[in-house]
Amino acid sequence: MTFLRQPQRSVAALTVVPAAATTLALAGNATGAALGLVGTVVLAVGVTVASRPGVSLGALVLLGGVLAAGTADVSPAALVLGAAGAVVSWTTGQHVVGLATQLGREAPVQRSVLAHLASATVTTLSVGLVGFLAYRVSAGSVPGVAVGFLLAGVVALLLALRS
């Protein structure tokens, strides 16, 4: 018997839940939904074989689905939900792969994965809710370029803060 560094199926399945949520949220747009479906499958395979690049690729395809749906005027609430699903499934997938390579297949990790899933969901949805409310309040009154500048500035600050 070798020490198997792959997650249990039941744990890997938890990762697929937010990815599936993204796909559902994008159901209004054909391209978005298709990309969501492909992303979900890639992500599921990536998690099952404990591949970090596989998980990232799957999440990237999910994000591509969100962007494709976004350019086609899907409702902002669905987009926020889709983006949150992509982020949560990515971070949970990475978490599960990390646990699998560090602790192996036999270790009981459900509690840890559920805690990570919950905290990531709460965090991303909170951020999304704030953004969504700001959007609703300011709709029409703020020029798009201003918001673009703001977000670009924040991203640059994040780059400055990285270590």
Binding site: G104, V113, L150, A152
Partner: protein
């Protein structure tokens, strides 16, 4: 760990900082609508900002490809860590030749190629009975056609690595491994009398234990680089969102992008959690017998004030014990004051086994930082397992084995059963030995002489060097145990045949029991084998090497002693040792438990290398008993005896 983990360093990237502050300022100004700056033309600005973000996002995201996620790599405590699988090092080399960095791969291919050539030379030397130097020259010159594939270089072709990596990821074998395998198969065919280990019966794939470095870490804080490149995804999202705003108003896509930005930001400001744990370990049996199953229960309590969002613990299973059920690892989230309990089962083996400290790995909720600590557990700190060598049942005594190694028919005339010569009667010769036939026919008195049978003096030597702690079966009985069993049975059967038997060890721990006969000696040898530190369950850390220990052993040996050595013969120094004693007039018989398997290329290569060693020893006149794992020892002795009497 060049960066401080606790606080992100802002001023290391002044350009990004300046750009960020400017961007936020411009955004705020434009949002509030203050006419400080002239109104910007929407289209070119949006195109420039959006295009820049998309491009930048791709560049930043691509960094992910060059970054590897760092995380604690706790040792594989599930298996015995004090034994090595023969050939595992070669398998690791082959794996490095595919998965290593550029230079590592080249080195690994070089190493693998050299080892194959060395083995080829040794096999050729054994086949043609020529010196290894000459054989080596012939192999280098490509003159040996039986192992033709040795001449194909193990060079790496362009693009091959990617193909190999994909292939190994889906459970296939790399091209370098298949090529090495071809050479190994040719060598196995060429090696005379080598049947090869049976891959089917070995059953257990044990291609080396991964991550066996055990005593590597003290407390460590690290950034995992897990979120590297996510800012790139955020930039991409915002960039596409800005393009989308060209249609008029704020695109809803920009709102979605805030989620990604928020996630990345959360990871940047994360700090390492404080780890304060109390760990208690309980073991259900006080004095287990070897083979018993022991349940170990570990309770972990968060005694600190902070919430541990992501805590992973790995119990320090003693190196000599194997986990048979459950897992000594656990991952959970733990509130202050909360505790979790998990349990697993180990199989008991002989000796005292001390637990190592528990390894705790805590991460912040985002997983961006990690803190690794070792925590000493309270409660059970060791498992004592009663020695059991005495309880192996009746030792079968085999006439052949005893005669080969024990009872020695000397060339000296005297008392005995086998006729030697006749000599003139001398006063005092016992009447029973007078040749009465001769008296009747010639009237002369003569005395019959027989071969005198002396009890042999045998010293049983157990090879307990580091290199002797090998096995092909990480789940079953380790080879050191088999050597001890062999030593016990051999000593017992020699004593039954009336020989004097002593005990010694090739080990950094000095062990010596002078040869004597009788049942008391049997008990003494048993006790020694069961309790002496030289035969402990854990692999010795010191090497056994050099003149002083050998001289000490030679000085202790009686001049007429012969040696019975129990050794797996998995390194060349073992052969040198035996040759040295044999050449110095201590006849050597070696009983060698076969620890080689056939599951991997490395294991098959190790089996050939061992066969070469056996053949070399035989050529020097050393008697070799090759003891296969599936075979009872008496059967192996009998087979060897038949071979010797041929």
């Amino acid at each position: 760990m060049s960066h401080s983990v606790d606080t992100p360093v802002v001023f290391e990237h002044p350009l990004a900082l300046a750009a960020g502050l400017t961007g936020v300022a411009l955004g705020l100004v434009a949002a509030v609508g203050v006419d400080v700056v002239p109104p910007l033309p929407e289209r070119p600005v949006a195109t420039a900002v959006g295009g820049g973000l998309v491009l930048g996002g791709v560049v930043v995201g691509a960094r992910r490809l060059a970054t590897s996620v760092e995380q604690a790599d706790p040792p594989v405590v599930e298996f015995r860590r004090d034994v090595e699988v023969p050939g595992a090092s070669f398998d690791r080399t082959l794996s490095t030749a595919v998965h290593g960095g550029f230079e590592e791969r080249a080195d690994a291919r070089q190493t693998a190629s050299e080892r194959l050539r060395e083995t080829a030379a040794a096999v050729l030397a054994a086949v043609e009975r020529i010196p290894v130097d000459r054989a080596s020259e012939r192999v280098e010159a490509g003159e040996w056609r039986d192992a033709g594939s040795i001449d194909d270089p193990l060079d790496e072709r362009t693009g091959q690595v990617t193909v190999d990596r994909v292939r190994t990821a889906v459970g296939g074998r790399s091209s370098v491994e298949r090529q090495a395998d071809r050479t190994v198969a040719e060598l196995a065919d060429a090696m005379p009398g080598f049947a090869g280990p049976d891959a089917a019966t070995a059953g257990i794939a044990s291609t080396g234990v991964e991550g066996t470095r055990s005593d590597d870490t003290g407390p460590v804080d690290r950034r995992t680089h897990r979120w590297t490149g996510v800012v790139g995804a955020a930039m991409l999202a915002v960039g596409v969102g800005v393009f989308a705003t060209l249609g008029g108003g704020v695109s809803s896509l920009v709102v979605a992008a805030t989620v990604v930005v928020g996630g990345a930001g959360y990871a940047v400001v994360a700090t390492v959690p404080d780890v304060s744990l109390a760990v208690e370990r309980r073991v259900d049996t006080g004095r287990p017998e070897p083979g018993d199953e022991i349940e170990v229960t570990v309770t972990v309590e968060n005694t600190g004030d902070s919430w541990l969002a992501d805590l992973r613990v790995v119990d320090g299973v003693p190196p000599g014990l194997r986990v048979v059920d459950g897992s000594p690892r656990y991952a959970t989230a733990l509130r202050p004051g909360e505790s979790v309990r998990f349990s697993y089962t180990v199989g008991a083996t002989r000796g005292g086994h001390a637990f190592d400290p528990v390894r705790a790995i805590a991460r912040d909720p985002s997983g961006a930082t990690e803190r690794e600590r070792q925590v000493d557990a309270t409660g059970a700190t060791s498992v004592e397992c009663a020695p059991d060598l005495g309880a192996t049942g009746a030792v079968p005594v085999f006439a052949q084995a005893a005669r080969q190694t024990g009872r020695v028919r000397t060339g000296t005339a005297g008392e005995g059963v086998e006729f030697h010569s006749v000599r003139e009667y001398r006063q005092g010769d016992p009447l029973s030995r007078v040749d009465w036939n001769r008296v009747a026919t010639t009237g002369e008195f003569a005395t019959l002489q027989f071969h005198e049978e002396r009890a042999a003096t045998v010293v049983v030597v157990v090879d307990a060097r580091r290199h002797a702690y090998v096995t092909d079966d990480l789940e079953g009985a380790a080879v050191p145990e088999r050597q001890l069993q062999a030593a016990d049975r051999l000593a017992s059967s020699l004593l039954s045949a009336g020989d004097s038997v002593g005990l010694a060890a090739f080990s950094p721990e000095w062990c010596w029991l002078a040869p004597r006969g009788g049942d008391t000696q049997r008990a003494r040898i048993r006790r020694r084998l069961a309790t002496h530190p030289a035969f402990g369950p854990n692999r010795p850390t010191e090497p056994f090497y050099g003149r002083p220990p050998l001289r000490r052993l030679r000085e202790a040996l009686p001049g007429h002693a012969q040696l019975v050595v129990c050794s797996p013969l998995c390194d060349d120094y073992a052969v040198e040792l035996l040759r040295e004693f044999h050449a110095r007039g201590y006849p050597v018989t070696v009983v060698s438990p076969d620890p080689t398997g056939g599951d991997s290329t490395g294991q098959r290569l190790a089996a050939i290398e061992r066969a070469v060693r056996l053949s070399r020893l035989r050529r020097w006149g050393v008697r070799v008993v090759d003891w296969d794992a599936d075979e009872p020892l008496p059967a192996a002795l009998e087979a060897a005896d038949r071979r010797w009497s041929e």
